[in-house]
């Protein structure tokens, strides 16, 4: 808050003016602007940098109104993307309320709120309720939602830029449309960090669902001081690859020791565990350094947050779990280890340091490999130029709509026409067609299958007046358990011993890869895996191990934004600027120029070379990981037809790498524009990307159950149905089912980036520079070490992989058991099992020169 240098503001009631004055503060202009908007009954979008009193600005009009009229009713609903943030804001808000002696009740309601308090909140709501999109959805699915929310005057959406454009944002938008129907006089306030696009957020807040609705005032706080960002190049050789950045631990530790309080941001949970361990190995001074990520037990995270708030920590190693909101005045340094991936995201993280808007935040970027040096450079340039990145708005998901419609029916009967109109007032659904709405509603009712098989299992029915009802209370109850749009991989709780504390959760497949006695690193500790018991992985403390495993979480890595990818390409294309880069990186790029060539914005550089018995093809497309994955799927299919026998591909944000049994010739033909031709649909449908997308859609839409850790493995196997099996059956029998449409829509905009790919193929036509090399090029090294998450999809390639693995295993047995005469009878029989008939192409065993990984 600025120091007082004028009279207490006349816009504020005396109690508030006095409160500001007593602290030697006066309100920011944007805080007063929000007050004015509220008095005019208008909604408002506040765009402000961190530290500009954003939260107080959002609540000030409500506090003023409630000070004047403290009649009991739920006046203001605050929605935050993070539970922790809701809790923290409640704490921060109570201080001024108590200091002014206001009788305003402030409470939180999240998934952690006990059942009895939730019930009490529905009966006697507080004036201000702080919640999350999921908890709001549950609240709105209750039959008494109307009574509880009828007096609502204001909805505040915090970190609105982090919600809009996501499925959680779709869900919240639908809930806000509902709130507007329940409390037509209520207004909305959106609090946003500095963003690239304002119009989508204005539309998101508008009660019309459109940017030109005219009911939302745009209020911008002045930009804060420019951040002070530097890049730290650790001593020793800059690694070619890897994203962990552990070699920089000594430098990071020195930075921590030299600052008051630091946040060390990393990009994945695995990286957080490793960096935490690496720092503690150096921590002879015993500086209090903590760990924070989304898989740790809630109590553990709350403890760390509290210690941080009280200034008892010197540093916390954190993932995006601390990206948003929580206000820790004491933090004076942010260290980003690994590439920042996006300018806006980096700015948000940097904003965690020094929560005073008029002082520069201090941040140090620590690249983990050579490509990341370029990326850090690009990010600093983007921030200096104010070139923020952000996605354009996209239509809301039909899976989220399906979930919402069942929730609405659970609360009260509705008429489809009225519901359609209400849904279209939510910005993501402003252009929803009646056909899509009706199909979604029918899916919720009876599955929406052409075969009318489920008449007696309908979840919804329509009465003679046309109102849609939920069939019974059991359907509604079951629905409430399924609310939410975050679909997690199945996880298991990690427990110390049979009775000990729960440390957090790891993904089930990680535990499946452990055998008793394995050591792994979790929650900052070295653990020994003891056994799997029900849904717990039991572990004991273990001494340091040379090669512990670290749980890796699916979807942990964020893709690089377009803006940064373009900037990296620009850096590569301007050798005159190389002098600014660290020596090793200069050397790397110089070598690339000598051995191959540097990519440039005009041409497409494609390198091919043999390595370890495989042939590699690397295309430096710079179109972002999603477009590269699609391209990888299409190219491998074409290569399969051409007989190159592709084995897999890896897509980074810059490069697509494909490996095959035989070398690819005629590169220009591979990349010809008709790549996006007729078999795109079919190929996409077969891909594991679509299968994963379908699983998420099916869970959100309520077709399949979430993983319930409560059920034992055997009963779960009998109850749950593998989403892949459903996907296959549905594709065969109802290719146009609304959930398949939703799946394709999700994939087309997020995961496949078809439009961008089409433009790319047109652009590079006739501009392919093929370098046939005899060995791996310097620029290709990081990509080859990169792990491909998306491999060649099911089909012949998978069969070939199995055949190779089988041959390997047989060889291993032969090695281990000596001459065949000594084998037990069954093994001999089994070996006689090897392919009896002439092999077809799909069953061709082991390509020549099998290698172990």
């Amino acid at each position: 808050m600025p120091k007082q240098d004028a009279e207490p503001d006349a816009a504020l009631p005396p109690a508030f003016a006095g409160w500001f004055a007593a602290r030697g503060w006066r309100p920011f202009p944007h805080q007063l602007a929000l007050l004015a908007a509220a008095r005019a009954g208008r909604s408002a979008l506040l765009v402000a940098p961190t530290g500009a009193g954003k939260t107080l600005a959002g609540f000030l009009p409500s506090l003023v109104a409630l000070a004047a009229d403290p009649a009991p009713r739920l006046h203001t609903l605050y929605v935050s993307p993070l539970k922790a943030l809701a809790v923290d804001i409640a704490r921060n808000l109570r201080a001024p309320v108590e200091e002014m002696g206001l009788a305003i009740a402030i409470e939180t309601r999240t998934g952690d709120t006990p059942q009895d308090r939730r019930r009490r909140q529905r009966e006697r709501p507080p004036h201000i309720l702080l919640t999350t999109p999921e908890s709001l959805s549950v609240m709105l699915s209750m039959p008494d939602a109307g009574a509880m929310l009828a007096g609502l005057a204001c909805v505040i959406v915090d970190e609105i830029h982090a919600l809009a454009g996501t499925k959680r944002g779709d869900q919240l938008a639908l809930c806000m449309a509902r709130l507007a129907s329940l409390a037509p006089a209520s207004r909305r306030v959106g609090l946003s960090a500095t963003v690239a696009h304002r119009a989508p957020l204005l539309a998101y807040l508008s009660s019309t669902g459109r940017a030109d609705g005219g009911d939302v005032a745009l209020i911008e706080a002045p930009a804060g001081a420019a951040p002070d960002i530097s890049v730290l190049i650790p001593a020793g050789r800059m690694p070619w690859s890897g994203h962990m950045g552990l070699m920089a631990a000594p430098e990071v530790f020195a930075l921590i020791a030299g600052a008051r309080t630091s946040i060390v941001f990393v990009n994945t949970r695995a990286q957080a565990e490793l960096m935490f361990q690496a720092l503690w190995r150096l921590n002879e001074a015993n500086l209090p350094i903590a760990l924070h990520h989304g898989s740790l037990a809630v109590e553990q995270r709350r403890k760390v947050e509290a210690a941080m708030a009280e200034g008892r920590l010197r540093a916390v190693v954190a993932t995006s779990s601390l990206d948003l909101g929580i206000d820790w005045g004491g933090v004076d340094l942010v260290i980003q280890v690994g590439a920042p991936k996006g300018a806006s995201r980096l700015l948000q993280r940097i904003g965690r340091a020094n929560h005073r808007w008029n002082e520069p935040s201090r941040a140090v970027l620590v690249p983990a490999n050579r490509f990341e040096v370029l990326e850090c450079r690009a990010a600093i340039g983007a921030i200096a130029d104010g070139a923020l990145d952000g996605d354009a708005p996209r239509p809301g998901g039909l899976d989220v709509l399906a979930q919402h419609l069942l929730g609405m029916a659970s609360a009260a009967p509705f008429h489809p026409d009225a519901m359609f109109a209400e849904v279209r007032r939510a910005a993501p659904y402003a252009d929803l067609s009646r056909q899509d709405f009706d199909d979604t509603l029918r899916f919720v009712a009876d599955g929406g299958y052409a075969l009318a098989a489920y008449e007696r299992y309908r979840r919804l029915f329509q009465d003679s007046a046309g109102l849609v009802h939920v069939r019974n209370a059991r359907v509604a109850r079951q629905h409430r358990l399924n609310i939410g749009t975050i679909v997690q991989e199945p996880t298991l709780k990690v427990r110390l011993g049979a009775m000990g504390p729960v440390l957090g959760e790891v993904e089930e497949y990680f535990v499946q890869g452990l055998v008793p006695g394995d050591t792994f690193m979790f929650a900052g500790q070295m653990l020994r895996f003891e056994r799997l018991r029900e849904t717990f992985a039991e572990a004991s403390r273990a001494p340091p191990s040379a090669e512990p495993k670290v749980p890796v979480y699916a979807g942990g890595r964020l893709p690089l934004t377009t803006e940064l990818a373009l900037r990296v390409r620009a850096i590569l294309a301007a050798p005159q600027g190389f002098a600014d880069l660290p020596g090793e990186v200069q050397e790397w790029l110089r070598l690339q120029r000598a051995r191959s060539r540097l990519p440039n914005p005009r041409d497409l550089l494609v390198e091919t070379f043999p390595r370890g018995g495989r042939w590699y093809l690397l295309a430096y497309c710079f179109e972002g990981r999603n477009a590269h994955q699609t391209l990888g799927m299409l190219l491998t299919r074409r290569m399969e037809r051409a007989g190159y026998a592709p084995l897999g591909f890896v897509a980074s944000d810059y490069v697509l790498g494909i490996w095959s049994v035989r070398p690819a010739f005629n590169i220009a033909a591979l990349f010809s524009e008709d790549l996006l031709g007729d078999d795109l649909e079919e190929w996409m449908a077969e891909s594991s990307l679509l299968r994963r997308t379908f699983r998420n859609v099916a869970v959100i839409a309520g077709l399949i159950e979430r993983h319930h850790p409560g059920s034992a493995e055997k009963s779960r196997r009998q109850v749950t149905v593998n989403s892949d099996l459903i996907y296959d059956v549905l594709r065969k029998h109802e290719p146009d089912h609304v959930l398949l449409r939703a799946t394709r829509a999700d994939a087309a905009r997020g995961l496949t980036d078809i439009g961008r790919l089409a433009a790319f193929l047109a652009r590079v036509k006739g501009r392919i520079r093929h370098m046939a090399l005899s060995r791996v090029s310097p620029l290709a090294v990081p990509v080859l070490i990169e792990i491909g998450r998306e491999q060649v999809a099911a089909g012949a390639a998978e069969e070939a992989l199995l055949a190779a693995a089988e041959a390997d295993a047989a060889a291993l047995i032969a090695e281990a058991t000596g001459p065949e005469a000594d084998l037990p009878p069954l093994l001999a029989a089994a070996q006689g099992l090897a392919p009896a008939p002439a092999p077809t192409p799909a069953s061709t065993p082991a390509p020549a020169g099998r290698r172990r990984r």
Binding site: Y454, G513, I726
Partner: protein
């Protein structure tokens, strides 16, 4: 599709990559865990799965019967997902299944999901069916004499290949007992390393035969669990220490 021979109890059995077992000497085809009407069972619980699973499962089975022309068919239990499954079977599927049953010597081995024989479909029902030297039983009986052929557990195995981990339904045998994979369209699987399955086999001799498109892939059970080769995406877990060595 090529079936693969397996010698057990002095008899020659054929494991078919579709997941059915053939015993040529007896003209017998065995299939486990059809779980017909699993979709409608889920629908009754509020999960409106596509109602096409029974049709898909019966059509696949009919194709295999046409191809192998068995004199006898043994359905190894859990042929229906629940006791009312047979009654829910849509008319067309019911007629198709009844025709299959009528055309051969059909044996329903009863399972935990379908403890009573399906009414009106024909065929003989058994708790366990003995055709020397084999005993066909739904759920393996621990300590049963050699020659047991069973289903129930839906065995599935995952193999770490050079590109990634691939999981498939599988046969499991140690030469004394043979477990069939589940055949039904919506049937999931249980990892063969789970004690519930692994505990039924002599580990030293146990092998899993993974179903492929045109053939089976054979692995020793002992080879499936080695810590260095498991995990859907094993490399990141191991890359970390590598990165630390680079420092």
């Amino acid at each position: 599709m090529s079936a693969a021979p397996l010698h057990m109890g002095g008899e020659r059995l054929m494991l078919d990559p579709s997941g059915v077992l053939l015993w040529p000497a007896q003209g017998l085809l065995a299939v486990a865990d059809l779980h017909l009407e699993k979709g409608s069972a889920a629908a009754a619980r509020g999960r409106l799965l596509p109602p096409y699973d029974s049709a898909a499962t019966i059509a696949r089975l009919a194709r295999l019967i046409r191809r192998h022309r068995p004199a006898r068919v043994v359905a190894l239990g859990d042929s229906f997902h629940d006791a009312e499954g047979a009654a829910r079977l849509p008319r067309a599927e019911r007629a198709q299944l009844a025709a299959l049953v009528a055309a051969t010597e059909w044996h329903w081995v009863l399972g935990n999901h379908d403890p009573a024989p399906p009414a009106g479909l024909g065929g003989a029902a058994h708790e366990a069916l003995r055709i020397t030297p084999f005993t066909f039983r739904h759920e393996a009986l621990p300590g049963a004499p050699a020659g047991e052929i069973c289903g129930h557990h839906h065995p599935r195995a995952a193999i770490a290949t050079e590109a990634r981990r691939i999981a498939r339904p599988c046969f499991v045998t140690d030469g004394r007992r043979l477990m069939l994979p589940a055949f039904g369209a919506y049937t999931g699987g249980l990892d063969v390393r789970d004690p519930a399955i692994a505990g039924l086999f002599v580990r030293r001799h146990a092998r899993a035969f993974l179903l492929g498109e045109a053939r089976l892939y054979s692995f020793a059970l002992a080879q499936l669990g080695s810590p260095a080769e498991t995990g859907a995406d094993p490399a990141p877990a191991r890359r970390a220490p590598r990165a630390s060595r680079a420092s």
